[in-house]
Symmetry: C2
Subunit: 384 residues, 2 copies
């Protein structure tokens, strides 16, 4: 019986060639992206009829660099690249085109880029973002009911390797930025790869990671939304956050209590993190603000620290958060981030009040590269 099936499957491999559903990728010297021995990367695009081809992305020195025509191909070689996930996109006679030689691409809000990862050694940032041969956690897109927003809503949940519904795990809530959705952290943020790899390296505790959709008027990402007509949400996302926590507590095997609960987020998600922690003082022992948008209501032009000082309500809420003595209040931002000054203001206020927090500052602006780095760093600090 064994031989019967083996020969069938061999024949089938030959058949693959002619399948209508297939578009076999031809390997060529002009493959793209091509990783060169000197640490540069060459991007190649076959476009014999094009008049002008340029390339843009975070692996390109300046935006919209012209590519050089060599025969039927247009080509561009980057400078030496450090370990990271990079993105790029071609423009062919003014029209955007992703790299047809590569299936690695990511959606950022409504915009797509081709991507590749540079890794040089175990444990570097590129290594953390790649699929490694280590035990994998699972990812699920689940729908939870939000009574306070009056709809079923979609979120993404990572469960760590070995999760079996019996053993209990701590939980990290991981929030996306403006324009993003429940697919942002799993794709651009490389959540699964970062968590799998940090856990396998013994650098992070196994944990559940919850990635909700932070847009109160949406039920899901634009690719999954079923809301034909959007209604004004009944309440704010922050005030609906208890619906998410209840769903997670009731449907997953979680360790409860502040010492087992973290919340963090990027940009708008940093603002959500900030304000959810104010609404729920003492519920999170780990709070992470990544390039957070720290804004107060009203039209005040005062710096954030002055605004916070002038608001007895906000001051009382912040006091309650720090009175509960969170184990880690972590603020991270890039030097060129357009929200840098807001974070200076927040830190000024926290310093003045004598509240304990940690601060991490690095290069760069309001970009995914930094948010992936912040997640990798923050995740290593939790539940230890």
């Amino acid at each position: 019986m064994k031989r019967f099936f083996l020969s069938l499957s061999t024949l089938f491999m030959l058949m693959n060639m002619c399948y209508a559903q297939q578009a076999i990728f031809e390997r060529r010297d002009n493959s793209s992206p091509k990783f060169n021995e000197d640490g540069t990367v060459t991007l190649n695009l076959r476009a014999p009829e094009a008049q002008k081809v340029s390339v843009t992305g975070d692996c390109i020195e300046k935006n919209y660099q012209p590519m050089e025509k060599k025969g039927d191909y247009w080509t561009y070689t980057t400078k030496v690249l450090s370990p990271e996930l990079y993105s790029y996109r071609f423009y062919v006679d003014g029209v955007e085109a992703l790299d047809p030689s590569s299936i690695e691409r990511s959606r950022d809000v409504r915009s797509f880029m081709s991507t590749f990862i540079v890794s040089k050694e175990e444990g570097d940032q590129g290594y953390l973002y790649k699929n490694q041969n280590v035990p994998h956690g699972n990812m699920a897109q689940v729908w939870y009911n939000s009574p306070s927003l009056g709809m079923d809503r979609r979120m993404t949940i990572y469960t760590p390797p070995g999760y079996d519904g019996k053993k209990k795990y701590p939980v990290m809530y991981l929030l996306h930025g403006a324009g993003g959705d429940e697919e942002a952290w799993p794709t651009l943020g490389r959540t699964q790869q970062i968590m799998d790899n940090l856990i396998a390296l013994g650098k992070a505790e196994p944990m559940i990671v919850v990635m909700p959709n932070g847009n109160a008027s949406d039920d899901a990402s634009p690719l999954y939304t079923s809301l034909v007509k959007k209604e004004r949400p009944k309440t704010s996302y922050q005030e609906s956050f208890g619906d998410i926590m209840s769903y997670v507590n009731n449907n997953y095997s979680v360790k409860k209590g502040a010492e087992n609960t973290a919340i963090c987020g990027l940009s708008m998600g940093g603002f959500h993190t900030f304000s959810i922690s104010l609404l729920r003082p003492g519920e999170f022992d780990y709070i992470g603000l990544y390039s957070a948008a720290i804004r107060m209501g009203g039209r005040s032009q005062d710096p954030i620290d002055v605004q916070l000082e002038k608001s007895p309500e906000a001051s009382a809420q912040i006091k309650a958060v720090f009175d509960a003595k969170p184990k880690l209040y972590w603020i991270a931002i890039g030097k060129e981030d357009f929200l840098f000054e807001q974070n200076v203001g927040l830190r000024k206020y926290l310093d003045k009040m004598g509240y304990t927090y940690e601060y991490y500052e690095n290069e760069g602006g309001h970009i995914w590269r930094n948010w992936r780095i912040y997640l990798s760093m923050f995740a290593q600090r939790l539940f230890k």
Copy 2:
């Protein structure tokens, strides 16, 4: 406290405009795809510098149709389209480009297309493929251990609305074709939408749908694989299938027994369905072959029915399947499918042996349009 947060979130909405992570989509008259009142669809691409723009796809009458230049835009209007999911792709001076105005796109093996759905009324094929405001099931990408293939492997699992790990559900195993992977049915196959909508319409029983990766030498789709070096698999996928069934039985709340178990698949997955049912007679009361590749080992040029008759081993295996009296043995294929004759041969053999099966034949060839239709039809027949 409420006002504090509401005003913060209002301000934040204004801030969104300037976010680096955002690429706001401008609505224009030249939106694309544009659904016209007469049932046609207009595709528009802004490309003032391009010399030549064409479009191809299953909504276009012939492949690579030239688009017409109107000002800065190139445009093409389809004929009147019936309810369906359609795909298309532009070629700008010879280079493929997806529609930058649309985020709906799908990967088929290594090839990407922009997509849109036409639906005219509740219950039509387009309706079944769209996200509707109905209770949703969850989708999970899970890793299971396959001792017989010697690796952890990734698969996608749909659990129906209301699934809570307590109530038990029947299971459908749904297998992809050659070149595909565990992401094929969830994306191009619209499994979640079809199941959610059929269940909401009362046309299908709530069930678990298991979508494994059918390539024995892979652990996951090319986007998630962590196998650097592929080894020759220790056994065939079909012979490893018990590992998948064990994982599902041990980790999900399933109704066991043949009467609660279905298996079906397209093309290579139809062949897998055929051969797994031979290896496990009496385990599946519902067997569905969609455009199945029916091949025997060896070099025989005989028609399939003759080959089956000449093989005592295959004949005995098929007899065991039908002796167990499956409730539904369903064969579906399009008239222009390149595997049509193979299926004629299989039916000839089954007819000659007096085995009971049902046959569905429709227009078209070896295409996803047919496989989505077959899934919608087959799912309605199960577990009733």
